[in-house]
Structures are given as structure tokens and as C-alpha cells.
């Protein structure tokens, strides 16, 4: 069986900021395009960006014998959400995730029951926040920023994972790509946020741990901040402007954004 956790992960990012990243990624470009003023609205991705998917590991450990399979499940779910967007064959994110779980079951010769699917849904609705998240969000809010979320999964204001984690009240709106039946990184999802917040795309700053999300935000005209959590790095290709902020934790990103408010 494929075991992603065997891949060597050295925590080179921990405690090292943009300097180390710049050495690896030629981020002189990024520095040249650093944000020169505070964005109007901060738009947060949630799963993996604010909330820790590793809480699902026990489920995957039990079903597949490998907790790290959660990364494969999430990665394939994103891949197939993109395929649905490209082919205009929208399916709700929960159905996609359940279908991919059963697909992985077939691939790895593991039987997936309805109870497993239900447990996955329940686990997703009660993911804990990454430790750097609650304080950072509160500080951004206190600094006067407007905070919203934009997720591929359904928005569940009042009863979702953000509520469980005690963070929901910090956001003025929770928005889901499902409303436009196209998933991130489709331009329509970021346009929906601009409409819902009564602002324009260049006023939005998308904040996520997923470079594919920020590719969409940047090409739509938003600014972007990459939370370079363990194992995360930007994709550097021609034609894509990298995120203006790249830092190993939301703490660092919040500090930079708060500085812009005071500038």
C-alpha cells in the first residue's frame, strides 16, 4: 500500500521566514510585489488552512491502516472538484468527498461502509483549529479587518466546524463555492465574495495553505497570502503572480497585515 507518511518531511520552514523561502523560490519577485496597503476584506480558506485535517487520521488509520491516507483523500477530492469545475459537472463537495473515499477503498481493497462516510462527515464538522489560528484571527479583527471565509465545502454558519472551534463569530460571512456551482480556483468563486462583501476583487486578500487556491485568487485580481504550513510551498510557474505574503504560520501573516493597517 502507498504510505504517504514515508515521505521525508523535514520541518525546514519552522521558525524560518521569507528569507529561507526566498533562497529556494527566487522570491525577489514576491518582494517586489509586496502589498503596499491594507486589503479591504480578508478571505480565509478553512480546511487545512485554519482547521487541522490531521484530526481525521484515526479514521483513516482504522479504515486503511494509515493515518496519512487523509492527505491522499483530501488531495484526490480537490483534484476531482477541479475536474467537476472544468467539465461543468458540479456535485456537492460532501458527495465528492464520500465518492473519493469509496474510490480509495476500491483502490486499496478496503471496504468503506456508510458508517465510515458518516464518520468522515462528522469529523469534518468538528475539526480543531491550528494553534496559531485563534489569536491571529482575533488580532486581525481587533486591528479593524473584515474577515470572511470562502470554502469548497458547504458553509454551515451556526453549526459547522468554525462554530465548534469557537471561531465563527469572528467572521462576518461564511461563503461556499457551492453557491456558484464551481469550485475554487474558479474566478466566479472570488467574484461571489466581492459581491457578497460589497467590494471589488483587488480589495480582497485570499489567505490559504493551498497554492492552487491562490493561483485562482491572483489571476482573478485579488491579493494572496500563503500559509506555508509543514510541507507547503508555492508553485512557481510563468504567468502566475505568486502570493504577496508567504510565511510559515498565520501568526506571521497576521503580523504583516496588521503592520499595513498602521502604515
Amino acid at each position: 500500500m502507498y504510505r504517504p507518511h514515508q515521505i521525508g518531511r523535514r520541518p525546514v520552514l519552522a521558525g524560518i521566514g521569507a528569507a529561507a523561502m526566498a533562497a529556494s523560490f527566487k522570491l525577489s519577485l514576491v518582494r517586489a510585489q509586496a502589498l503596499d496597503r491594507a486589503p479591504g476584506v480578508l478571505v480565509f480558506d478553512v480546511a487545512e488552512s485554519l482547521l487541522d485535517l490531521r484530526a481525521l487520521r484515526p479514521l483513516f488509520e482504522r479504515a486503511f491502516g494509515s493515518g496519512a491516507m487523509v492527505d491522499e483523500w483530501f488531495g484526490e477530492t480537490i483534484l476531482y472538484s477541479e475536474s467537476a469545475t472544468l467539465t461543468d459537472t458540479f456535485a456537492p463537495f460532501g458527495q465528492l468527498g464520500a465518492g473519493v473515499l469509496r474510490m480509495l477503498g476500491r483502490i486499496h481493497h478496503v471496504s468503506i461502509s456508510e458508517a465510515d462516510v458518516a464518520e468522515l462527515g462528522k469529523g469534518l464538522a468538528s475539526l480543531p483549529a491550528h494553534p496559531d489560528v485563534p489569536d491571529s484571527l482575533r488580532k486581525l479583527k481587533e486591528a479593524g479587518y473584515r474577515l470572511v471565509t470562502l470554502t469548497d465545502s458547504p458553509a454551515n454558519p451556526g453549526r459547522g466546524a468554525l462554530q465548534t472551534a469557537g471561531l465563527a463569530d469572528l467572521f462576518e460571512q461564511q461563503l461556499s463555492a457551492e453557491a456558484v456551482r464551481r469550485y475554487k480556483p474558479a474566478r466566479e468563486t472570488y467574484e461571489m465574495v466581492a459581491r457578497a462583501t460589497g467590494t471589488r476583487l483587488p480589495e480582497l486578500c485570499m489567505i490559504a495553505a493551498h497554492p492552487w487556491d491562490l493561483i485562482g485568487a491572483r489571476t482573478a485580481g485579488c491579493s494572496a497570502a500563503l500559509i506555508a504550513r509543514d510541507g507547503v510551498a508555492p508553485l512557481i510557474v510563468p504567468g502566475i503572480e505568486p502570493p504577496q505574503i508567504i510565511a510559515p504560520s498565520l501568526t506571521d501573516i497576521a503580523a504583516q497585515l496588521i503592520q499595513l493597517k498602521h502604515a
Binding site: Y2, R3, P4, Q6, I7, G8, R9, R10, V12, L13, M21, S24, F25, E72, G75, E76, I78, L79, Y80, E82, S83, A84, T85, L86, T87, D88, T89, A91, Q95, L96, A98, G99, V100, R102, M103, R106, I107, P185, A186, R187, P211, W212, I215, G216, T219, A220, A228, D230, G231, V232, A233, P234, L235, I236, V237, P238, G239, I240
Partner: protein
Amino acid sequence: MPTVRNIVFDCNETILDLTTITPVFQRLFGAPGAMRLWFRELITYSQALTIADVYVPFTDIGGAVLEKIAAPRGVKITAADRQELTDRFATMPPYPDVPAALRRLKAAGFHLFTLTDNTAAISGRQLAHGGLVDLFDRRFSVDDTAKRHKPAPEAYAEVTRALGASPSHMCMVACHTWDTIGAQAAGWEAGLIRRVNNDVLDIAAQPQYVGTDLNAIADQIIARHGPG
């Protein structure tokens, strides 16, 4: 019943054995699983860039993804490493079931084509190396046509148009469900080879033909659309 005349094959992992590039990843990352991570991210980002309407050639996305997964793991990628990956990718051998099954489909009167995300140069090297190049009437690369990566509908529509065919004359054969989803969204039939690490996705459009190797798919296509 509409009759399929043109069978279009995906290349990487469908007819060519992707696992033969694993040693590069074993050497660089100390883990064979890194190959699967790299390939999944390659597809994830080829789709993300296509959704964002930015075309980047597949080989260049592959190189950028290699850097992306290497840097945070403290792995240094040299020009020689990138060249080794490109060379191994360009010389992946066909799976053992492929040559005879292709000849059987050809003998049954079908026209055979390829449609790949690879550039024509890489694809040409792959098929020449595998001794398969003469079996195909024509080879299509999204790099020459739609400049959008599969499963964008344009990638398939350009092939239909170039052949002066109607979608009902077309059948895609691939081992990736995202590819059969794209072909079926373009109005083609599709066959899925359940290669290792690949299987059907039950919430999406289901391929008309499913089998564990190309022989099984060829049998089903010939039974439905073949002569006699």
C-alpha cells in the same frame, strides 16, 4: 446505436508504465510514495492553471511541482535530477498488455489516436521508444491544439473537429477517471483501465467500458462496435 470508429488513448500510466519513474523519487526523497504525490499534484496544478485560464506546458508544471514538493522537505533538485526525470518520463515502456491489444483493435478496423497533456516532443519520444508509434493514425497533444489541459472539454473537442467526426464516433481510453469524465462530458464514450492506484468514482459519469487491462477494454469495445 451510434458507432465508435475512433479510439483515443491517454498515454501516461494508461499505455505507458508510470511506475518506471519511481527510482528517481526513491533516490531524491528516500520514499517511493513521493512519485504518487508528484503525479497527483501535477494533475491538480494542470487543472488549477487551466481553470485559471493560464496555459503552462505539462513538462514545466512537472518541474515546478517537483520543486514545490522538494523545497519544504529540504530536498535539493539539480538540473541533472530534472533531466533524469524528463528522460525517464519520455522513455516509460508500454504495459505488457498494450501492444497486442492495440493491434487487435486496429485489425478490427478502428482508427487509433493518442491525446496527451504532454508536449508532442515528449509524447513522440515515448511512443517511439515503446515501439508503438506506427499503430496510431495521428497523435494529438493539448500543447498543439486547445492549450488547455484535460479534462477541459476543448481538449477533446479539438480532436473531434480535427478528425471531422461527431462525438458519438469517439471513445477515450484512459486509466484516470478525471480523463474519462472529460471525454464523456465532451460526448464521447469512455473506457477506464483500472491500473494500480486507479478506479472508478461512483458519483461521476460512469465509463461504458471498465477492465483491469487493455485486453478487457478491447474485448468490450469490439463486442459493441466491432465488425460482424
